[in-house]
């Protein structure tokens, strides 16, 4: 059927001023009409361009971008890390004879026995005994019972333990010691302990296992370290100190030991009388955090100086001569942590825009631009599809309800009410946890999410459509349509609904922005997108604090702008469509 095109005042196309049938017969289909009017509307075109730009940005950009959306980027930064630690030694440290073994269980029992004042203790089925040699020196022995003695008229008769060797000379020495009331005695180069319980006396053979000292050994030069670690050396040194001697010898070498305050310094005297510093005993222990770090005596002294001066930091030259800063802190009394600036790998979080990252990186170290592109795919898809679902269901239900009125209207409206009384949040939580349990693929979750959002949102549209149709239903053009015998469905959807279009378009536009943001809130609460997938909404949500908002504009402004452009574009297109459909428009 021929329809007039545009303003009757303009001459028909093709031929100037001809008014014959040919010219009039040229017609355009309704769709073309709408399209032409739409295209003439500048704003609508702008809106279309904006939308197209968003789609291109998201779908094409995501392919073009060199980075993956969950790719984390690293950078190197300087962090003060623990390098060594110094503490005032309050515990006993053990030097163990190389041929013997002092298990940790025995050490623990030793502490218990020492604090309780009992000389004998046992661990792991073996017996031990400790003796005090000097103020902070204890000797630990393994003790084996070799004989039991019973007194008989002042003298003791001993019965040897099975398998033990108890010569007469030893027995005699034991008797003498018992008579003298001693606890231990020496005989033939070995040490023996005596224990009395009532009348019985037990003789035990002692074997030296370890020395426990509160002093810590440090060698001055690396070449002397093996010697300083030798048990025999330490024994000699410690006994000398405990005995108050000035010199002692070890391995054919001569050493002198002298106290300087709370430390004792051991010097080696070479055959021609030269004194060289050899070792130091002090109450301080310093150790590096990994075994390869060697804490020299000089470094230790530097730390102690800083501690005494109550400094927070000090500097010390590196092996290659350059001075290096160290930080000192005291997390617990008598413990000092030395930190050194080390270059270490860090996540490149919140990096400023640069050539490598045009919009910087987010708070997890991922490229912002790539995430915006991939996020755009999801946001746009979710937004448009949900709007379409909502519109479709809403128009159908609202249209049918509004048109038929009466019982149908009643039922459908009440159905909508029931729908609305379902509490949203619990339902979403249930869905979220069901999806978690079924371990649904993250992308499938998005589709399910869209369906759910659409189903929850159609009621508003239905009501608006119904309300409008209630009014329009009685208008003349509807009466005419009925009189013309047009089918009911055609009447509803081809005549009524297009007149509801303007309102629908407004609703749809507003919903679009809201849906994108609702999806973000749901993802924030864990019911939607799973990390590390992104959408525009979740990107904005990630910049939650005032600090992030004000210091890192690139974390949220781009995403916000993109959403705004999309919503604006959709809005302009909607306006354009509405005007294109309405022949009574001024323009």
């Amino acid at each position: 059927m021929p329809i007039q095109t545009g303003n009757p005042a303009t001459p028909p196309a093709g031929g100037a001023g001809r008014l014959d049938d040919e010219a009039r017969a040229r017609s355009l289909s309704p769709t073309m009409l709408v399209f032409k009017r739409f295209v003439r509307n500048r704003l609508a075109v702008v809106g279309t361009v904006m939308l197209a730009a968003m789609f291109v940005f998201s779908f094409v950009g995501g392919i073009v971008s060199p980075y993956k959306q969950e790719q984390t980027f690293y950078k190197t930064g300087a962090v003060w890390k623990e390098y060594a630690s110094l503490s005032v030694n309050a515990e006993f440290r053990y030097s163990v004879d190389p041929g013997r073994d002092l298990p940790t269980a025995a050490r623990a029992q030793f502490i218990l026995a020492m604090n309780a004042g009992k000389p004998d203790f046992s661990a792991g089925g073996l017996d031990y005994r400790w003796e005090e040699i000097g103020e902070d020196l204890r000797a630990l022995y393994g003790s084996t019972e070799i004989a039991v003695g019973l007194p008989l008229a002042g003298a003791y008769t001993f019965t040897a333990a099975p398998g033990a060797d108890f010569p007469d000379g030893l027995a005699a020495a034991a008797s003498d010691a018992l008579g003298a009331g001693l606890d231990a005695f020496e005989w033939d180069g070995g040490r023996y302990a005596l224990a009395r319980s009532g009348k019985r006396a037990t003789v035990s053979a002692l074997v030296e296992i370890a020395l426990a000292s509160a002093r810590v050994f440090d060698a001055f030069t690396p070449k002397d370290e093996p010697a300083v670690a030798e048990y025999a050396f330490r024994r000699a040194a410690l006994f000398a100190i405990a005995g108050g001697a000035d010199t002692f010898s070890y391995d054919g070498r001569t050493f002198t030991v002298g106290a300087e305050g709370e430390t004792s310094v051991v010097h080696e005297i070479s055959p021609d009388g030269e004194r060289t510093e050899f070792a130091m005993l002090s109450p301080y222990i310093a150790q590096g955090v990994t075994p390869d770090i060697r804490v020299t005596v000089a470094f230790k002294d530097a730390i102690l100086d800083a501690v005494r001066a109550r400094e927070g930091s000090f500097s010390y030259p590196d092996p290659d001569g350059a001075d290096r800063e160290y930080q000192l802190s005291s997390p617990k009394p008598d413990t000092y942590t030395v930190k050194r600036e080390t270059l270490t790998q860090l996540y490149d979080v919140e990096a400023r825009p640069s050539a490598a990252h045009w919009l910087g990186t987010d708070s997890n170290g991922m490229d912002m631009l790539t995430r915006l592109m991939h996020g755009g795919r999801i946001s746009l898809m979710v937004g448009f599809i949900v709007v379409l679902i909502e519109l479709f269901i809403g128009v159908v239900v609202g249209g049918v309800a509004g048109y038929f009125g009466g019982i149908v209207d009643l039922c459908l409206m009440r159905f909508i009410d029931l729908f609305n009384s379902v509490p949203q949040w619990p339902l979403l939580i249930i869905m979220g946890s069901v999806m978690d349990t079924l371990e649904i693929d993250p992308y499938a979750r998005i589709y399910l999410l869209m369906v759910v959002l659409g189903i929850l949102g159609w009621t508003g549209i239905a009501r608006v459509v119904r309300g409008q149709i209630l009014t329009l239903r009685e208008q003349d053009f509807m009466v005419a349509a009925e009189a013309a015998g047009i089918r009911v469905s055609a009447r509803i959807f081809r005549h009524l609904v297009p007149n509801v279009m303007p309102l629908l378009i407004v609703q749809a536009t507003l919903s679009l922005g809201g849906i994108i943001l609702t999806e973000a809130t749901l993802s924030f609460l864990g019911m939607g997108l799973k990390y590390p997938l992104a959408s525009w909404g979740t990107i904005i949500n990630a910049a939650t604090s005032i600090y992030t908002m004000t210091n890192f504009w690139y974390l949220w402004i781009p995403a916000g702008m993109l959403i705004l452009i999309t919503v604006l574009g959709f809005n302009f297109v909607g306006d354009g469509l509405r005007d294109a459909f309405d022949p009574k428009m001024k323009r």
């Binding site: 515990e91 990994t290 390869d292 996540y347 939580i429 978690d436 993802s523």
Partner: protein, 530 residues
């Protein structure tokens, strides 16, 4: 049976023992299988059960009741002596944790006569106390006035034993975590506590004109958090051949643990910088029993290979460390019985009882909001290069994680422990507390080592701190060797105070993890009132 002068014969412990013995036909093993065994002796167990069962049946006891408890004695106005049956280290804190309540409020001073066994209320009738449930008042420095408008209102308590607080009114306002620092800056609040991470410190430093965390606007005092974050491995579900503590199983867990442990640094350094410590033993650094770097035998967590050699040196670059860790893991897995294909560089088969894919649950609320999340992502990618899959499960509802922990079906998980003052490990590491065995159900690792159990009991019973420290070091070494826990980090809590409105010198001196800012709250004076 013993006749106590009453009507009927009452049972004594000997009877109870006879009964129990007969019930189990003298089978000690069966008895201990069924009854709760925790290392205490039979007599004590019997006595406790006896009292629990028989005391309600004792006619004489029910009537007038017991006049007083012999073990609780008042010494003077400020001292009470409590005698316990036996020594257990954590018991001290339980007893000392009982709050002190004022008599004149909760009781009736007229009814108080200590020597006559009258303690301020009629016997068996606590209605005076119950009536005050909705108006709790303690013996503290401030009195509760009301809770409205999301603010708790307090007023100074003039009867406080240290003297009436110098600042009359105190309010606690509900605040969002991220708004503590801005709140102090804008004078909405005067003091608060915030998480000690890098961006928070930067925020506070930005407010002070000197650019430091303590300045003219805000004063910051940082203390270690009482607790630490960790990654746990379930010894039963991550094992080889159904034997949780065989060498093969330990190798398997150590392989996973070594890779996870090496990636701790990146995450902690990025988000916390200097403000958090990476810890190496499953105990909080704030505890006195925590091993120090200077202790003998101190090692970084999971820094040793199959052959016992150290993996890392101090000058290694991060990439080198990762490579070393992956190589060590590969060797651990081969030692555990996994089949390695040299051609593809991947593991193709797992031994009996083990798998090539394990799941780790993390409570990130579905959005990866957890400091350890980065560790998991990196470790997962690294293990994938060996053909081993570490699947990360971040459920939206954290209860999913707790449900699995309760059922004992989890494989690996991320969580944090809150420490107590006493380092007693019984609740968490003793085998009787494995989930489902009727104990505390806190042993999520399912660790059951008899040696460890004995050490824990030994340490619990002693009051010698040096001894306990040595025993706990042994216990910690056992736990690390069993590879059931990877301690991750220990962060700080920052206490913020407004320099402008609070007279800072009047604050509690020496604020530490255990001695909070409120300990000397009665001395705080506001600047306006100086």
């Amino acid at each position: 049976m013993e006749n106590r002068g009453g009507e009927e014969d009452l049972p004594v412990i000997a009877d109870y023992f006879e009964e129990t013995y007969a019930a189990y036909s003298g089978d000690a093993a069966a008895y201990w299988e069924t009854e709760q065994a925790d290392g205490t002796d039979v007599l004590e167990t019997a006595r406790v059960a006896f009292i629990a069962e028989q005391s309600p049946l004792d006619a004489g006891a029910a009537e007038g009741g017991v006049p007083n408890i012999a073990g609780i004695k008042k010494i003077d106005q400020y001292t009470i002596e409590v005698t316990t049956a036996g020594y257990e280290a954590p018991a001290i804190y339980s007893i000392l944790g009982i709050p002190i309540s004022p008599l004149r409020y909760y009781g009736d001073p007229a009814l108080y006569d200590y020597d006559d066994n009258q303690f301020g209320h009629p016997y068996g009738d606590l209605s005076i106390v119950e009536s005050k449930t909705s108006h709790p008042v303690g013996a503290g420095p401030y009195k509760f006035l009301s809770y409205e408008n999301r603010t708790v209102y307090y007023e100074a308590n003039e009867h406080f034993y240290k003297g009436e607080p110098l600042t009359k009114y105190l309010q606690f306002k509900e605040t969002l975590n991220s708004e503590v620092a801005p709140g102090v800056m804008t004078a909405t609040v005067d003091a608060g506590e915030m998480n000690g991470n890098k961006s928070n410190y930067a925020l506070v430093a930005g407010y002070n004109s000197g650019g430091e965390v303590t300045g003219d606007v805000i004063t910051t005092i940082s203390v270690d958090n009482l607790g630490y974050g960790y990654i746990g491995l379930n010894a039963e579900s991550v094992s080889v051949g159904g034997e949780p503590f065989s060498d093969a199983s330990k190798y398997l867990r150590k392989a996973l643990a070594t890779v996870l442990a090496v990636y701790r640094d990146v995450a902690v350094d990025t988000y916390y910088g200097d403000a958090a410590n990476i810890i190496n033993y499953p105990i909080s650094n704030t505890s006195w029993a925590a091993p120090r770097t200077t202790d003998e035998g101190y090692k970084l967590a999971f820094s040793v290979g199959v052959d016992g050699a150290d993996l890392y040196t101090s000058d290694m670059k991060s990439e080198d460390k990762y490579a070393a860790a992956i190589e060590a893991a590969r060797q651990y897995l081969i030692a555990a019985g996994y089949t390695f294909d040299e051609g593809t560089g991947l593991f193709t088969a797992a031994p009996e009882g083990a798998k090539l894919e394990y799941e780790i649950i993390i409570g990130g609320a579905g959005i990866g909001d957890h400091p350890s999340f980065g560790v998991l992502t990196d470790a997962s990618a690294a293990l994938a290069t060996l053909g081993v899959t570490l699947k990360i499960n971040d459920p939206a509802d954290t209860n999913v994680m707790w449900n699995e922990l309760d059922a004992g079906t989890q494989e690996l998980w991320c969580a944090a422990w809150q420490s107590t003052i006493d380092p007693d490990m019984y609740q968490i590491y003793h085998s009787s507390n494995i989930v489902g065995l009727g104990g505390s159900d806190s042993n999520h690792y399912h660790i059951a080592l008899p040696e460890l159990d004995q050490l824990i009991i030994d340490a619990r019973k002693s009051d010698d701190q040096a001894y306990r420290k040595a025993v706990y070091k042994q216990a910690l070494d056992l736990i690390v060797d069993a590879a059931v826990e990877i301690p991750v980090y220990q962060r700080q809590n920052a206490r913020l105070f407004s320099t402008q409105r609070i007279d800072i010198p009047t604050l509690t001196p020496d604020i530490t993890t255990y001695y909070g800012w409120g300990a000397d709250i009665e001395t705080i004076v506001m600047s306006a009132n100086k």
